[in-house]
Symmetry: C2
Subunit: 452 residues, 2 copies
Amino acid sequence: MSEVKILLTENEMPEKWYNVMADMPNPPKPPLHPGTGQPIGPEDLSAIFPMELIKQEVTRERWIEIPDEVQDIYRLWRPSPLYRARRLEKALDTPAKIYYKNEGVSPAGSHKLNTAVAQAYYNKQQGIMRLSTETGAGQWGIALSQACNFFGMECRVFMVKVSYNQKPYRRTMMEIFGSSVLPSPSTETKFGRQALADDPDTPGSLGIAISEAVEIAAQRDDTNYALGSVLNHVVLHQTVIGLEAREQMAKAGDYPDVVIGCCGGGSNFSGIAFPFFYDKQTDGAKVRLVGVEPSACPTLTRGKFAYDFGDTAGLTPLVNMYTLGAGFMPPGIHSGGLRYHGDSPLLSQLVHDGFIEAVALDQTSVFEGAKLFARSEGIVPAPESSHAIQCAINEALAAKEAGESRTILVNLSGHGLLDMPSYEAYLTGRLEDYPLPEDILAKSLQSLPQVG
Amino acid sequence: MSEVKILLTENEMPEKWYNVMADMPNPPKPPLHPGTGQPIGPEDLSAIFPMELIKQEVTRERWIEIPDEVQDIYRLWRPSPLYRARRLEKALDTPAKIYYKNEGVSPAGSHKLNTAVAQAYYNKQQGIMRLSTETGAGQWGIALSQACNFFGMECRVFMVKVSYNQKPYRRTMMEIFGSSVLPSPSTETKFGRQALADDPDTPGSLGIAISEAVEIAAQRDDTNYALGSVLNHVVLHQTVIGLEAREQMAKAGDYPDVVIGCCGGGSNFSGIAFPFFYDKQTDGAKVRLVGVEPSACPTLTRGKFAYDFGDTAGLTPLVNMYTLGAGFMPPGIHSGGLRYHGDSPLLSQLVHDGFIEAVALDQTSVFEGAKLFARSEGIVPAPESSHAIQCAINEALAAKEAGESRTILVNLSGHGLLDMPSYEAYLTGRLEDYPLPEDILAKSLQSLPQVG
């Protein structure tokens, strides 16, 4: 059998991130202040973000230098390997070629570390000693914990209480790297104390945890806030994935017909897809870009393209994006990372403008794909990433049906080694699908704020 | 900062395993039949092992071809990366250079897959449709499950009952790859039923699980048995680690002064060390080879070099090795993979003849090293592998003390992502050390069989 891994040396690692805003025909509309409804300025964000990240949030410059200090840490696992999934192709008996980029090799186990390292670096540069963040299942919390550890910064993680109790292993991972992890709502913040007073037995929510993390960041000069997806600068940092993949495809003498990634807030998919969008815009490349989301939380496929809040409490700026409504409560699917009501404004704009496709899949079919992938390639994928894998399998089967070749590139955003309870539920037939009922969606969308 | 990863391409992967028996001044004494006390022949083993593995168990040929089919699967993760631990060196402020070979990148998360794939292949070649094995914490069971899956074979794993209940995640991993996992003692075997009749609430033991796995392998023509360490053919397959590491060190323009690995049954340490033993014998290389074991189970440092049984029940052949006595019950340390009363006969002979050093470490110091390694290099090591890491740290600090450079090569045999409960125990101060009392050791050694 021929080569299965396409590797780059550390010297071939990209030295710049790609900023998609330089090439968008319609730049995204500006974020609005939640109180005034007016476009926000840098000063509105400076209480919780460092100036370099605020600049990256708005710049139209095409290429942004990756600082040496960030590259030094990237080298611990980057460039990540690109695999030709020969065994999966054989199992599918397809003429299609399937390549996957393995972001699960990062110490954090997912792509999240690409932006965590950059965010910690820029904060440290500005003299910030501590970052606060929220985490649901814990993937983002682990990544930011590791990044803060590398730069000698403190990290405080508000972990949704139900996850804090159900997923003690993810919490331990954060603590190994020195973070302090608090169940949210906590007694550390005014908002948390209020939530506890309202309901001492609340399981917590991502919305509450965000509010707590932002509250302590806004209060203390030495503390800032960090977010793991959605924002422009987060997406920017993830483009290192696609830039590497493009080089690796060239090494393999190939170019994708379709690029696939799963979508929660949109950062891993944007990370692999945007450098190929650049090819579309500058070279007329014919590549299709496909984002995959759960049918239980179908933001891009069934949401509304409108201004909405990023959090449940309505404290964040209003951004123009696909949304199911900030009050939407997704069912408890096993892909915690995809349970978000909105999506990256950059990605949303490109979907709206027809440059990017989106599909939604049921979780039972997603776990079928995950099992086939594991048994073929050996790697157990995260449930989130398995959405992208199942979509790639569907593309490969469509190619077989059509009797044509097709080159598929898929982002394996993380491994599933800490997701065994989800696999156990699947293997014992305890998984359910939750297609979103039309009336619930309609009701949720009624609550969208009237602005813009 | 300079390069941290030294990579080989798939074309640079070794095509042969190294058989240390070709170069040992004193070959190990022959295994003896447990009943007669006479040397066993191939026919005694053929009920449970395929002929190719029996041949590998006794051959003096120096180089053994790695079959193409095995190489094809190795390519899913091999050659594994060699890292220069620059951040760890900096944290220790040492003039020493530390390199680590990362076997944790295998789909199974450890070096175990190197031999599991080979064993499954040779069994399949001989028409065997099913393998049975035992597993304690589950690492070996996962590796054999994956290997059987790749060759379309069934795999039946007898998992020590207490682990079966305590470590459901490892069990789920095996089930993802299609294995049937039974708590041992089970009602599937005569020996298991007997054990359950004796004590319905028994937590089980590795000794009982081995007996069950051997029993069903001996009974059925289409079923064989597989073991994850100790035996000569297992050690042989692991030499791919050291052969790659030697090439990678050469690429880095370096050669180790000391090679370090942790020792349970001895296979990962032998795997990295034996190719350097070859250099000692053929080129007069001055490299030191150091095996590291837990002070709670100090086989090489305090055991007796004598014939003993491989299992508790006394059903396996008698082999000449360092042993604490087959009846020795190690305390419940967090390195399940190092809780074995004996050690590889090949490794034992080389320790006895003075070619290899051994040291024993307390688990609290081992977890200190693990934390420092994780915070420096990002990777959370398995508790077993952390023994080797702490030893490397001690070597690096000794070099600093002596004001001299020293080049250290250490085998990171697996990652610790499924060992979070152990890390939690460490972080919350609940770890204890268990130095082995002299009288308990003396009593255990009294029970050694009188043979040889």
